[in-house]
Amino acid sequence: MTIPSPVVFVVDDEPSILKSVSRLLRSAGIGVETYLSSKEFLDRHHRHAHGCIVLDVQMPGLTGLELQNALLTDGVDMPIIFLTGHGDVSMTAKAMKRGAADFLTKPVDGGDLLEAVRVAIAKDRISWVARVEIAEINERVATLTAREVEVLTHIVAGKLNKQIAASLGNALQTVKTHRGRIMEKLRVESVADLVRLAERAGIKMAQ
């Protein structure tokens, strides 16, 4: 998988800010996508994107800090650069604790912003691969049916087909069919690969 060119996602409720900041980034040859609200960003955001987010702290609806929270629970660890009118210490500390890349005060100097963006993109380059891989695995796991996931938990626990059939109350043949389909959907060749993948996807062993 080749890494896409980096994109800076700018989220601010003020159109003039979006416009001027994206201009500045474009002038430095960086790709930009702009969003007028946190919700808009969450709806349209592409999981495989690579780059960073420039976020206004005070926005109507979901604030910058809340958006940061939502992304973290989603497993998106793209670096975030916060912009604020007048940053108070407690807010800054909270944001930085959650892994904010930087915290800049408006009116922000173009040089400072570009520098922060460059550092953030470099950082994201490393985490992008892992992020995309996990995202892909998750996508594959998502294609499994509920029954298949159940069977998978038993396989991960190291049970034989016979044991699985007994505990699920199925015929041995049915379990075999499920197993084949799981291997196919998750695109793995061996049980060892299957177990490793299930572990990365966070699938737990059956009791």
Binding site: S16, K106, V108
Partner: protein, 712 residues
């Protein structure tokens, strides 16, 4: 003679308990009769008592007159002593003036009886009677004229009056007449010798007997109470010594012992002993004893007074006696008076302690060196410490550290200026809680005007202060008026409103520069950017215009306002700030000030700003000089003026023109918008705000507002 004296003494206590009943301290000296007149016992009973007392006086006078007759010098009609003079004078001193005539009459009757027994010619007899009574009345009236307090020889002034009038002036003045009468009756005696003789005899009698009689009368003829055994023993030893030396000195036979002057002085140390230890009463008794022994000795040709004729010997005896007894009596009185004063002082001190210890407020005293010397029970209960721990400056450990410097500065400053002070500070209670205390102190001075320290009281005002705080919090609209919040919110909203366009402009401009650096022909992009920059700039301008509009005339909520009330409200609001700065506010508010039209909140904001500015300006002013004057006045029919004057550092001339400009400040924590906002508000009210330096010290800020009528 001793026998008759004993008789006299045994008779008089009875008379004293009825007629000579001495007044106690604090009651009028002649209240006896008037009390009885008002008493429910009735007039009849009172008349009986008066008669009885007159009878007693008559008997006493009769007996003493017998003594007088017995002491006539041989071959003359001149007596050696006049005990009757002392007895009647003392009686009159303790009787009401309106009944003096009755006592005098009784005395005349007593004298008449004695004279009849003595076979005195009737004319002489009548003369003696009237003359004796007049003499006594003159002496008693003279003493009464100078002594208004109850008698009892308690003060030097009283002793002086008694001695001067009864023992000097009256005896020698009346003897002019008495000597004239005696010599005119065919008596061969020299007028001046006779005058000297009579005067001395009366004077010596008065000084020997009258003090004792006055003291006995004042104490209602009661033996002094509570005499310890030691003291009684001392009295017996002294009396024995006096008796022995008296007999040895005054009754020895002249041929056996050398009668020198030195011998006469032997009793003097004993008399001083009596004066020092037994008061005027004891001294008087000792003097009387010596006098009687000396007279007896002289008459019988014994003792130191010899060598001349008997008259001459008696003269030298009286002279000697007067010279000794006057200073000794005065000494005894002085000592007694000093002792009384000290006792009163101690009693006052004890009363002060008792009063302060039961008082609900805390009371303290300090000395001239600023150290605290006394705390009452309330204080010690409050702090839960002992007097020893608190004394000096130990108590100051309980003062809140934040208040200590302020309090101590004011206290020492007031000490140095000898001025009273009032101050609020926090003091640690026994349970460790700091309570707000309102303390005030007044300087103490001794009679010579020397500074003695302070006496002061403290009251716990924490509860009142809390209530004040709650009132403040309830006024939410006023609470946000506090200068900090106002400035904070103002700057916050302004910053936010201006940040957006500023950010856009900066980013745009920097983007344009980059575009041009990469490709100088990319003018389309740059044109777009410049258009946006212009747009954003306009927006920023709009923000500022909107802020200014906040203070425009149209947006003020105008109400009819009373400025004096508004100032009182602001002072309440700022009370704790003023206390913190230790600033005393003096109000000079004009009465019946016409109302103005204005926005209450905004005008309060102006007052708060001006007052706090004044407080800040006095940061380096001495504690006791931190005064702020608030004046309101009607300058014309249409204009009301409010002035806030401080005693601070004043305004330097080069800043005078710029202090009302925004962002002009001398304070590190301020944005410098205070005075600018004030000026805008006052201008929006159609008024004017200005500043000037006071002629002496500090600066004044004043604003004038049109009256309500004028606006209409």
């Amino acid at each position: 003679m001793n026998g008759t004296l004993t008789h006299f003494f045994s008779a008089t206590p009875q008379a004293g308990s009825l007629g000579l009943k001495g007044p106690r301290r604090g009651t009028g000296q002649s209240d006896f009769e008037s009390n009885n007149l008002n008493a429910p016992r009735g007039e009849f009973e009172f008349l009986g008592l008066l008669l009885l007392r007159c009878l007693m006086t008559g008997i006493a006078y009769y007996l003493t007159t017998r003594i007088v007759f017995a002491l006539f010098l041989p071959n003359t009609r001149t007596p050696i002593a006049f005990p009757s003079y002392a007895v009647l004078t003392a009686t009159l001193l303790f009787a009401s003036v309106r009944y003096w005539w009755a006592y005098a009459l009784a005395a005349i009757c007593g004298h008449h009886l004695a004279a009849w027994q003595f076979d005195l010619p009737l004319a002489d007899c009548l003369h003696c009677e009237v003359f004796g009574a007049v003499k006594c009345i003159l002496a008693a009236a003279g003493i009464r004229l100078f002594v208004h307090a109850p008698l009892g020889l308690a003060t030097l002034r009283e002793a002086f009056a008694v001695i001067l009038i009864a023992a000097i002036v009256v005896p020698f003045a009346t003897s002019f007449w008495a000597a004239a009468y005696t010599t005119s009756n065919g008596n061969q005696a020299n007028y001046w010798i006779e005058w000297w003789n009579l005067g001395l005899a009366n004077a010596a009698t008065a000084i020997a007997l009258l003090p004792g009689l006055i003291i006995a009368g004042a104490s209602s003829w009661r033996w002094p109470k509570g005499m310890s055994r030691k003291r009684l023993l001392e009295a017996i030893v002294l009396a024995t010594a006096l008796m022995t030396t008296g007999i040895l000195v005054f009754t020895n036979r002249r041929d056996s012992v050398d009668a020198s002057l030195g011998l006469m002085s032997v009793p003097v140390p004993l008399l001083i002993w009596a004066a020092l230890r037994f008061g005027p009463g004891g001294t008087s008794a000792a003097l009387m004893l010596n006098w009687i022994l000396a007279i007896w000795g002289t008459i019988h040709g014994r003792g130191p007074f010899g060598g001349h004729s008997l008259v001459g010997n008696v003269h030298s005896l009286h002279c000697f006696f007067l010279i000794i007894s006057i200073p000794v009596t005065l000494l005894a009185v002085v000592i007694k008076e000093t002792a009384n004063t000290q006792f009163e002082l101690r009693e006052n001190e004890a009363q002060f302690r008792a009063m302060t210890d039961t008082a609900p407020v805390m009371i303290w005293k300090s000395d001239a060196f600023k150290a605290y010397t006394f705390f009452n029970h309330s204080w010690l209960n409050f702090t839960g410490r002992t007097l020893e721990q608190e004394a000096g400056n130990g108590w100051a450990q309980g003062v809140h550290p934040e208040d200590y410097a302020r309090f101590w500065g004011l206290y020492t400053d007031s000490c140095d200026r000898r001025k009273d002070f009032t101050v609020e500070y926090r003091l640690r209670r026994h349970d460790g809680e700091y309570r707000w205390i309102l303390a005030s102190g007044v300087p103490r001075f001794d009679p010579y005007g020397a500074f003695q320290g302070y006496i002061g009281s403290c009251v716990d005002i924490t509860n009142g202060k809390r209530a004040d705080l709650e009132i403040q919090q309830h006024r939410t609209e006023l609470a946000q008026l506090s200068r900090v919040t106002m400035m904070g919110e103002f700057s916050g909203s302004m910053a936010h409103a201006l940040n957006q366009p500023l950010t856009a402009i900066l980013c745009n401009a920097q983007a344009a520069l980059r575009f041009l650096a990469v490709d100088s022909n990319n003018l389309e992009e740059v044109r777009e950017i410049l258009k946006d920059i212009a747009e954003e700039d306009k927006r920023a301008g709009e923000v500022i215009k909107r802020l200014r509009a906040l203070f425009k005339k149209g947006e003020i909520r105008l109400h009819r306002l009373e400025l004096n009330g508004l100032i009182d409200e602001v002072l309440k609001l700022l009370h704790s700030d003023l206390v913190k700065h230790n600033v005393v506010v003096e109000r000079k508010l004009a009465e019946k000030l016409p109302e103005i039209s204005g926005d209450r909140i905004q005008l309060q904001q102006v007052m708060i700003n001006l007052i706090l500015n004044g407080c800040d300006a006095m940061m380096n002013t001495q504690w006791s000089e931190r005064r702020l004057w608030l004046r309101t006045e009607l300058t014309s029919e249409q204009s009301v003026k409010v002035t806030v004057s401080d005693r601070g550092c004043g305004i330097s001339p080069n800043r005078m023109d710029t202090i009302f400009e925004p962002f002009e400040t001398t304070k590190s924590k301020s944005m410098g918008l205070g005075l600018a906002v004030c000026k805008t508000i006052i201008a929006a009210h159609g008024g004017r705000l200005w500043a000037e330096n006071n002629p002496d010290t500090g600066a004044s800020f004043a604003f004038a507002l049109p009256t309500h009528k004028e606006i209409e």
